[in-house]
């Protein structure tokens, strides 16, 4: 695993990103370390835990999640589409005398309006999340670490993305100082 400054690959000129991946024993340790290292301002941080650990958002300094807004949008769109569709089809385009019922009878439109709202809201929640999360992304440099396999079982990891031209060593050292049980430096693959 190469140390020191970035070395562009001769042939392609591709500049690999480099990560420092640090494993911690407990979620509390991770939480602590994250807060510290972020204050130290070492590159861009991310944590990898088997389940959500309360407080990490704050520690990572994440903003308000976007999902709720997206879902709200979906719901409104769904309801609007549904009602206008029904109105167009049964009132505007071809109003038919259905057993003396008025062409536009709001009560009859409620169920579909609601269902479509839910459908679009739910879908936007699901697809919204994966879009925001840039998933599916089968490859990510952190996967190169053998020990990272613990991340979904019982390992609590912190990954630090090293800025262009900087050396990972400082970050690695800092992580160790914060009590990481295992630290390694990962270089992104080209293809």
């Amino acid at each position: 695993m190469s140390q020191g400054a970035h070395i562009p690959h001769e042939d392609t000129g591709f500049v690999p990103e480099r990560y420092v991946l640090a494993k911690f024993a407990t979620s509390d340790a991770l939480l602590e370390a994250t807060r510290k290292i972020r204050e130290a301002g070492q590159g861009e941080l991310d944590t990898h835990t088997p389940y959500p650990v309360h407080g990490l958002e704050k520690a990572l300094g994440l903003g308000r999640p976007l999902i709720p807004t997206i879902v709200l949008g979906g719901a409104i769109a769904g309801a609007f589409i549904a009602y206008s569709m029904i109105y167009f089809m049964n009132v505007l385009d071809w109003p038919i005398n259905i057993g003396n019922r008025p062409p536009h009878s709001p009560p009859a439109n409620i169920p579909i309006t609601f269902e479509l709202a839910v459908l679009l809201a739910g879908s936007s929640s699901f697809f919204g999340f994966f879009t925001l999360a840039r998933l599916p992304k089968p490859y990510h440099p952190v996967f190169q670490s053998e020990s990272f396999r613990q991340a979904s079982v019982d390992g609590f990891f912190l990954s630090i993305k090293i800025r262009e031209g900087e050396s990972p060593d400082a970050a690695a050292a800092l992580a160790e100082a914060e009590g990481a049980t295992h630290v390694e430096i990962i270089e992104e693959l080209e293809r």
Binding site: S27, T34, D46, T47, H48, T49, P50, Y51, P52, V53, H54, G55, E57, L60, L62, P65, L66, I67, P68, M85, M89, N90, D93, W94, I98, R101, S105, A108, N109, P111, I112, F114, E115, V118, L119, A121, G122, S123, S125, F126, G128, F129, F130, L132, A133, L135, P136, K137, P138, H140, V142, F143, F148, R149, Q150, A151, S152, V153, D154, F157
Partner: protein
């Protein structure tokens, strides 16, 4: 969904202090024990069950083929009994489906911790039940090859549209929405577990396969923060959805003029019935599953007991529904309603089914007043099966019994199912079981991530009650 209320909640939680996870567990041990049944090769028992399920599934295929070839005449339906097994099964399966969403969504919103051990299981059941249900609306039409797309609001060259005042049109939207949302909800919850499957699998092929489905999940803190909301909102949406779906299904009947159908109590009592049958079905499958998959330490007797309580409650709601139907029939003074409830149901040709229903749905659940019964696996299992039977009979009563004697005595006719009807019913059970067994084989039956989280959280509470509610948002 912040920490404070949830932790407060925890302390006042009626379930506390009880063991939701038995023994001293670590994340690792949970991981292994819960994935164990996936790693373990299929045993003889599994293959035997799978064999039965497959043969029943074969019956389904035969039934469907014959129906398409011969027409609805292959069934026992007639005029006046235009709907029979087809719709009965549809409503029955949809109802069963509801427990899953209810457990995963509503209990989630109510922060019932005990749900975590059974929600994955129940959600899967929802999916499969809904798949079974979805067969019928299409299959029961006279010309499915048209029904398949004429029900959709698309711009056709005929320039004619669906008729949006019909409950059947509502059904199309309700059921398809319900299926989609349940699927998304289930899958979203599954992703982290798939990741742990990917990472803890031994063989590379398995890792790649699970890896594909895990979509490259890496437990990133940035993801978790959005994920929690996405999951929570899906739960939030599913809650009204699950209520609306069975409400709309009940409209198929409530909106009509037929005595026995034409009643306003249907929506609530259909939903209660759905939950009732749903929990019964979960129990029916959960009890053997925890036995053979070694999940006793996470699906404790406490879980079963809670389910019994729910069954008792919903069972009594259903009973209330029955009483109300009769009361209103009497109170309205409508001779046709009275005829339906006081003559036909109790004394008509379908009397047997009606009495079975009353026994299974009203009498049987009463044993759950006793803790002995609530905590005796055998009793629960047997009772839950009876309840499934009872709920099927309920649907038979609503659909067939109401139809076969309505307004004009001149049009009264009896009804008898054919072998096709019966094989279709058994067939769907086969389909359900097949899917379920596959699910047990390839996907963790319990939401590992959530159980771990729960463990972690309870550990924290043990140490310092101040921390630890956060998971509440998720657990």
């Amino acid at each position: 969904m912040s920490a404070a209320p949830s932790s407060a909640n925890v302390s006042r939680d009626p379930l506390e202090p009880t063991v939701l996870i038995e023994g001293a567990q670590t994340d690792q041990s949970l991981n292994d024990s819960l994935l164990n049944h996936v790693w373990r090769g299929a045993g003889r028992g599994w293959w035997m069950l799978f064999g039965c399920a497959l043969s029943a599934l074969g019956l389904l295929l035969i039934g469907i083929t014959y129906t398409l070839y011969k027409g609805i005449g292959a069934w026992g339906n007639n005029i006046p009994v235009g709907w029979a097994f087809g719709i009965i099964n549809f409503v029955w399966w949809i109802g069963i489906g509801h427990a899953g969403t209810l457990i995963s969504a509503i209990l989630l919103l109510l922060q019932q911790k005990w749900r975590t051990s059974i929600n994955r299981f129940a959600e899967a059941m929802t999916l499969f039940a809904v798949i079974c249900a979805l067969l019928f609306p299409l299959l029961h039409t006279g010309r499915p090859w048209f029904a398949a797309y004429w029900l959709m609001p698309y711009p056709s060259v005929q320039g004619i549209w669906p008729q949006f005042k019909s409950p059947l049109t509502w059904d199309v939207f309700a059921v398809s929405t319900y299926f989609t949302i349940s699927l998304l909800f289930w899958y979203l919850g599954l992703v982290p577990d798939l990741a742990s499957l990917r990472d803890s699998s031994k063989s590379r092929t398995k890792r790649i396969v699970y890896g594909i489905f895990a979509l490259g999940w890496r437990g990133s803190g940035r993801h978790w923060s959005e994920y929690k909301w996405s999951y929570l909102l899906l739960a939030g949406l599913s809650t009204p959805l699950v209520l609306s779906v069975h409400t709309i299904v009940s409209f198929d009947f409530a909106v009509s003029v037929i005595p026995g159908w034409h009643t306003t109590i249907f929506p609530p009592y259909f939903v209660a019935g759905a939950v009732f049958s749903g929990f019964a079905m979960v129990a029916t499958w959960m009890i053997p599953a925890r036995q053979f998959l070694g999940l006793k330490h996470v699906v404790t007797i406490k879980h079963l007991e809670n389910m019994c309580k729910v069954m008792l409650a919903t069972g009594m709601m259903v009973t209330y529904g029955y009483i109300m139907e009769h009361f209103i029939a009497w109170y309205s003074g409508n001779p046709y309603e009275q005829g339906q409830f006081f003559k036909t149901r109790w004394h008509g040709p379908m009397q047997g089914i009606f009495l079975t229903m009353v026994f299974c749905n009203c009498v049987v659940p009463q044993i759950f007043w006793f803790k002995k019964a609530r905590t005796h696996v055998g009793v629960i299992w047997f009772a839950s099966i009876l309840i499934n039977v009872g709920m099927w009979c309920e649907r038979f009563n609503i659909v067939v019994t109401s139809l076969h004697r309505d307004f004009l005595p001149s049009s009264w006719q009896n009804y008898a199912p054919t072998w096709v009807d019966i094989s279709l019913f058994i067939g769907t059970i086969g389909l359900f079981s097949t899917l379920f067994l596959l699910f047990l084989k390839f996907v963790p039956a319990v939401a590992i991530t959530e159980v771990k989280e729960l463990r972690h959280e309870m550990e924290h509470e043990a140490h310092h009650a101040s921390v630890g509610g956060g998971a509440g948002a998720h657990g």
